[in-house]
Symmetry: none
Subunit: 219 residues, 2 copies
Amino acid sequence: MRILLIEDDTVLGAAVRDQIVGDGHSLDWVTRLDHARDHLAVAGYDLILLDLMLPDGRGIPFLRSLRAAGNVAPVIILTALDQISDRIEGLNAGADDYLVKPFDLSELSARIGSVARRYAGNPNPIVTLGALEIDLASRTIRHKGRVVPLTAKEWVLFEAFVQRPQQLWSKAQLEERLYSFDTEVESNTIEVHVSRLRKKLGHGVIETERGMGYRLGMA
Amino acid sequence: MRILLIEDDTVLGAAVRDQIVGDGHSLDWVTRLDHARDHLAVAGYDLILLDLMLPDGRGIPFLRSLRAAGNVAPVIILTALDQISDRIEGLNAGADDYLVKPFDLSELSARIGSVARRYAGNPNPIVTLGALEIDLASRTIRHKGRVVPLTAKEWVLFEAFVQRPQQLWSKAQLEERLYSFDTEVESNTIEVHVSRLRKKLGHGVIETERGMGYRLGMA
DNA sequence: GTGAAGCTGACCGCAGGCTGACGGGGCGGG
DNA sequence: CCCGCCCCGTCAGCCTGCGGTCAGCTTCAC
C-alpha cells in the first residue's frame, strides 16, 4: 500500500514512518502542504495521513481542496486532543478516520488495516457488544437499535475501551488521552465521565478494577 | 528492536548509541526525563535504558510512575558503582536488569540480546505458568481459561514474581515494592497477601523459603 | 518438646469510587 | 447583544470492599 504522511513533528513522524514501513507499506513523508501537493500531482496514494497544523497552512482547507479536485483517496487525520472541533470539521470535509495524539502505534496499524479493508469493499465494521452496536467509522452507537448520542469527551473515552477491548485503562492513561498533557485537571473527572457513560450505555459495560482502573465488561 | 536511551552523559551516551545502532537496533536518545515522557507518549519501545541520575529528576520515581501507568517494556538500569542501594531499589521498582558503569559495550549487547529473547517480539506477551496464563500488559490472569480477578496490591505482588521468575524475594523487598517508602507498615501484611494470592491462584504457585522469603514454584 | 516462623480466618477503618448537584463558559439562535 | 442550552469540571456526601491488623493455629528446625 502506498501511503503519504503529512506531518511536521519529526519525532512523531519518524515513529509513524518506522511503524508503517515495518508493516510492509511504502511511505512518502513530507512536512509541508505544498510538498504534499507536489507528491500528489505525480503519484497516486492509497492512503493519506494528515496532520492538521502544518507550517504553511492548516489541514482542513487542504483536505477540502483535495476532495474538490476529485481525489478520493482515504484520509486519516492526526490531531491533538484540543482540536476536537477541527476533528469534526475534518470528518465533514471528507476525512475517513482520525487518530488522537498521542496515539499508540499499533492503533495506527489497526486503523490503516481497517481503512484498507473498507476500501477493499467491505462495509463499515460494526462492533457488537451486548446490546450495543458501535460503528467506529461513523462514530455512532446504538443501544438496542436506539441511537445514543455521546458528547465529545464521552466518545474519546469510550473509544479507548472499544479499540483495545481487554486492556485495563488506568485513570492516568485515560486522563492522558482526554487532556493534551499541558492542560492539567484535578478532581475526579474520569470517574464522572465514566459515570455518565454508564448512565447512557447501561451499567456493566465499563467495569471498575478498584485501585487499578477500568476495563470493558462482558465479552 | 526499538530502544529508548535515557542518559545525560554525552560521552557514554554516544558510545552506547554507536554500539546499539551497530547491533542493528533503532535508537532514540534523550537526556531528560520529561523528553523521555514525550517519546513514550507517542512511540512504543521494546526496551528502555535508564540512567538513575538525570538533570531533571531521579530515575527510580520515573520508573515507578512508568510501571504505575501500565508500561511493561523491559527496563535496564545504568548506574554508577556507588549507587548500590538505588540499584536494588530500582530492581524492586520494576527494572529487569542493571549495568554498572563503567561497563563493557559487549556486555550491553549481551544484556539487550537476552532481554530481546525473553520478550520474543509479541506485543502482548502472555506468560504461561502451569495452569496459569498471565497477560502483564492488560493485567489479566487466567486459571485454566477462567479469569481470576486480582486486587491492586495482589497484582503488584504477583507481578514481581512473574517478572523475575527465579528470584528469591525477601519480605523486606516485597514490602519495599508494595509501599512507596513514606508509608510504613508493621505486622505480617506480606504473609497475608501471599496467603490471599495462593487462595486465588492455587497453592504451589508461590513457595516459601523459610527464613529467606518467597519465590515462584513449578516451572 | 520448645520456640520461632509462617499461615489464615475474622474484623472493621477508611481510601477509593460513585453520583447528584451546581455553576462557569462556550456556542448558537433570535 | 442578550438569552438559553448544553458540555464538562468541581465538589460533597454516601457507600463499598480493600487491605492492615490481630489472634490463634500449623509447620519446621533442632
